[in-house]
Every structure is written in C-alpha cells, then in structure tokens.
C-alpha cells in the first residue's frame, strides 16, 4: 500500500488513515501471485476453522495428529477418504458441468436422490441378469439424475424461470419422496428402520486392489472423460465461449441452446451417478438421509476448482477428508456434523473474498482534497 506518486516532487509522509484510497482494476495478475493469494486465503480459512474447533473443545494436538497426520498415513483412513471422495468427485463434476453453461444447478441433492432411487429400483425388481445388474443400476441412476434436472432446465429454457430457486425447491420434493419410499413401499420388512432391503453382493460396487472401492476408479474415469469434454472437445470450447458471452456466442453461430441443454443434462446424470455410488458403494441400500451435505459440497468443489474437472477431483478429495474427519469429530468430541458445513462455508468465504485482491488493488492517492 505504498503511494505510487509519479510526480518528481519530494514525497512527504502521509499517515495511512489520512490518505485517500481508490480501487483499481488490475491487469492480469501472474499465476504465481494468484496461487499465493488463494493459498493464503485457504490458510486463513483453515486457521479460523481450527480456532473454532479448539474453542469447541478439541485439543490442538489432536486436531493436527488425528485429523491430518492419521488420515494420510494410516491406510485404513486413506481408504475411507478415497471411498468418500468418489461421490464427492461426481457432485463436483456435476456442479462444474452446469456452471460452465451458466446454469446454477442447486438441485444436486435431488438428482443424487433420484439416481439412488433409480439404482434401487433396478435392484428391487431384479431387472437383468446378475452379471450385468450393477451396470444396469448405474445406467438407471444416470437416467434418474437426468430426469430430475429436466424440469428446472425446461422451466428456465421455456419460461425463463430462475433455476436457482426451482432446482432447490425440487431438492425438498425429492427428499420427501425418498422418505415416502423408505418409510413405505420400499421399507425393509426385516426391521422397523427407514431403509430399503440390502442390495445383493453382486449389486454392490466391488473392491479393487487391496480394499479400495471401485467407485474411486469409476470416478477417476468419469473425471478424465469430463476433462476431455471441457478441455479437448469442440463442445467444450464452445461451452467456454458461451460462459464468456452467451449473446456473442449465439451471434457467431454456436449452438448455444443445444450445448446448454446437453451440459445441464450431463450435470444431472453425474449427480445421479453420485447417488448410485453412495447407495451401492457405502450404504449398500437406499437410506433416508444419505444425500445430506453433498449439494453444497458439489458447489464448493466446482467453485474452488473454477469448474475445471481435474482440479475438481483434487478438491473433492480434500472435502472428502473433511467429511471423514468430521465424522470422527462427531464420534470422539460430540461436535455436530454441521461443523463440516461451517468449515466449508468459511473456506468459500475466504477464497471468494481473496478474488478481490486478484482482480483489484487499493491505491493511495495522497491526502490533498
């Protein structure tokens, strides 16, 4: 914040508070500085979160040891993180796909629910032979998620209704529909808990190399495909054009409507696949609240990764770590799981605010009126 006075006159010191400041838009800032600013923002966010946890009664040494060192050194914890990361990658990619088309898909949780419902439908009705059952379940989850994004998409394209509200409202509708199923027709007759009957062993996502779930392999494949789509394909190039300026893209003949529809449908389908991963991977059945927290996590992941699929995968692993650590906090310290939401929100606030310093700078213009 040094005054950059270009006049040859001798500079005299002006107290900081008496200077007048103006904001300037920066020209492009070099990427090392950008990375440094974002890293500093994340550090600030983590520090605030850590301070809250310590204030809530978590001992600082545990915080470091149990939740950071243990997670990455203990193979069991690492497996848990990667297991958790698979659906996170899916919702992150789903959000990124929609955001690339400037569509605020806040209905990720509803689409996850209908993805899981689709997969469970295939399992309950024993559709197809056992050897292809898992593929059919995955396909049904893609369709379920896609179907649940059609309504807000159609409302936006046809009537210009803000998708922010419509897609969000549909989350609550989907959540109640899920409850209707797990407390009603799809309830496991064996006991009185609200979940569907267990999937059969061949309807579960199998383990591959040494206890790692195949969900993470599937997620990695999808992430690579998504990266190819947005970074290498013609459609991805067009999408970037649409993101930058829809009107100009339309004027020069980019098929805007078709591409927006396609990427939003892909977004819904990917979220649906995420629902399948939780149901067929972690839970092994349809449960009543498996989706909670994924919607915002997906938005956070896409935001922090700037809608880049590969970066989204990395951020998803970090958020998954937070989820796993959050669950142990819940068990060992009775810290409610909403702490995870709080930490995510703090990180978003810090990174979003840091963007200001990437795009602007404060300039002092001296004290003279």
């Amino acid at each position: 914040m040094t005054p950059t006075d270009h006049s040859p006159a001798p500079r005299r010191f002006v107290p900081l508070l008496e200077r007048r400041y103006t904001l300037e838009l920066r020209q492009q800032l070099g990427w090392p500085q950008q990375v440094a600013i974002i890293a500093a923002a994340i550090a600030v966010g983590l520090f605030i979160s850590g301070a809250i946890l310590v204030a809530a009664g978590v001992s600082p040494s545990d915080l470091l040891d149990e939740f950071i060192v243990q997670t990455f050194t203990d193979p069991q914890n690492l497996r848990a993180v990667l297991f958790q990361a698979a659906p996170m990658v899916m919702v992150g990619l789903a959000a990124a796909m929609a955001f690339r088309a400037r569509f605020w898909n806040l209905g990720l949780e509803g689409q996850m629910i209908f993805g899981a419902i689709g997969a469970t439908f295939v399992s309950l009705h024993q559709i197809g032979p056992p050897e292809s059952r898992l593929w059919l379940m995955a396909g049904a989850s893609l369709l379920g998620g896609l179907a649940w994004v059609v309504l807000p998409l159609a409302l936006k394209m046809r009537l210009g209704i803000a998708e922010i509200i419509s897609s969000l409202m549909l989350n609550y509708v989907a959540a109640n529909f899920l409850l209707h199923l797990v407390y009603g027709a799809w309830k496991d007759p064996k006991d009185s808990f609200p979940y569907s009957p267990k999937f059969q062993p061949f309807e579960r996502l199998p383990e591959v190399f040494d206890g790692f779930s195949s969900a993470i392999v599937l997620a990695a494949v999808v992430a690579l495909a998504a990266w190819w789509f947005v970074d290498r394909s013609r459609a991805g190039l067009y999408l970037r054009f649409i993101h930058a300026n829809q009107r100009v893209a339309d004027a020069v003949g980019v098929p805007v409507r078709r591409l927006v529809v396609a990427s939003v449908l892909i977004s819904g389908a990917l979220a649906g696949l995420g629902g399948f991963m939780v149901a067929a991977g972690q839970e092994g059945r349809l449960t009543q609240a498996f989706y909670s927290g994924y919607g915002f996590s997906g938005i956070l992941i896409a935001f922090l990764a700037r809608n880049n699929p590969l970066a989204a995968s990395v951020v998803a692993v970090v958020v998954a770590t937070l989820f796993v650590a959050g669950r142990s906090l819940q068990v060992f310290y009775q810290i409610p799981f909403s702490m995870v939401q709080l930490i995510q929100a703090i990180l978003v606030v810090c990174v979003a605010s840091s963007d200001f310093f990437i795009r602007h700078r404060l300039r002092a213009v001296g004290s003279q009126p």
Binding site: L170, V173, H180
Partner: protein
Amino acid sequence: MDLVANWLGNLPDAAVPFALAALGLIISERAGVLSLGAEGLMLVGALAGIGVQLAVHEPGIALIGSMAAAAAVSVLFAVMVVWLRVNQVIAGLALVFFCQGLTGLLGTLLGWTNQPVTGLDAIALGPLVQLPVVGRLFHQNAVVYLVPFIFAGVVFYLGRSVAGLRLRAVGENPQAADAAGIPVLRTRFLAIVAGSALVGLAGGYIAVISTKLWIAGMTGGRGWIAVGLVIFARWSPWRALAGALLFGGIETLIPQLAAAGIAMPQYFVLMTPYLVTLGVMVWVALAKRGADETPGALGEPFLREERR
C-alpha cells in the same frame, strides 16, 4: 365450519415468517443486492431468539435479539458483496451454509436444542372475537397485529420517502445514482443489514412464538420459499403480503384437513409448499403482466472506476 374457523385462526401465525422474510428481502433486492441467504439468516434469528428467551423470558426482547443477530451476521455478507464484490450467488449460498453450520454447532454446544420456551399470549381484539367463522382471526399474538404496520412503514419508506427513492435508484441504475451524488455502496450496505434484521425477525418468530423450541435446521426451507415469494411478488411489499397469506394458508390447510380425517400420504403433503412455490413461479412467468419490475441492477456489483 369448524374446519374453516380453525384454518383461518392458524393462518396468520404461519404467514408471518413468510411475510417478514420476503419484506426484508425486498428491501435489499430493491437496492440491487440479490439475497439468497435468507434461509441461513432465519436460522440465526431463530437460534438467537431462543437463546435470549431462555435467558430473559421476555419474547419482545428475544425478537429484538433475533433481529440484531441476523443483522450482525449479514454484515459479513454485506462486506463480501458490496465491498469485495464477490459473486452474489456464491456469497448468498456460502452465507446459508455458514449459518446452518454455525447455528447447528452453537445450538449443540450451548445446549439450547430442544429446550421449550414460553411464547407470547394471544390477545383478543374485543368483541370481534365473537364473530362467526372469522372470529379467531382477531385472537392472535401481538406480532401478528404489528405486521401490517411494519408493512405500511416499509411501503411508505420505499415508495414515498426521499431515502427510499434513493435506495431504489441505487438498485435500478447505480451509475446514475452515483452521478446524482447518492452513496451507492453505503446505501446497499445499509439495505442489506436492515433487510436482514427483518429476515432474522421472521426466524425468531418461528422459534420463539410459533414452535417455542430450537432444533437444528428448523426453518426447513422457508427462507428459500421467501426468496421465491419475492419473485412472485415482483418486488412489491403488498403483493408479498398476499403471497405470504397464500403460503401460510396452504401450510395450515393441510394439517387441518388431516385432523378432519381426510387421509393423505404424509410425505406428499410435506412436498406441497415447495411444489406450490414452483407452481407460483410458473404462473408468474406465464402471466407476465405489466412491465418487468425486476430492479435493473439486481445482482450486479458496483465499482465507480469500472466503465461500462
């Protein structure tokens, strides 16, 4: 007849949170700030209200606490969107999840969860209570009676006062307002904080007056419905009040019907407020009556140095 009388009697109580939250949102959106954070601010208002009520057992003070807490938290949002020019959608979503996390954590740590409090007694408006069918409309708590006056005050402020005119100018065309010497950023900042206080009051009303209890996530999407309600009302307070009565009416009709022995699948019933919100948005889009009343600069940050 009993059914209708009960329904009308319960309707204002259900409509008040929608009305107050929508009114708060209208203030900030008329100044050009898209406020998606209502759901979170309502939770903050609800928790703070219960906290104060548990301490002082004075609902009036508890509701002031709700307003103050939501206004204080909204300063964070105001700094982000007004000064740091963060994308208003991202900032609004972050605010919701910040508040959900914060209230969930504090509610548990402070032990305010599931602690019943005393609310407000209903006041009978003299002989009006004796009227057939509509009588129970005149047997409500003090806040319900206050709501029309709050609305009248805001309508007067926005529509008739110089300060309100300036606020709307900032929302319609900040460049022109700036040229006319109106402090754009300060106006927006204050609009956010004042509007958020009303949203907080809505949350406090739910917790302290209606349910008399705090549970994490207890607003259950009412904040989002209020955001939809503002679109339905096309940023007009009186239409928002009408919309709030509509939503309150639907919310209270369903348990009345169930109590009357009309069987309905429970979870489909719980979907109705959200489906009605969607339906209302479709209706507004199809009707498209009158001019487009969306504030011209809604959602756009302002920076004087940026030429457009």
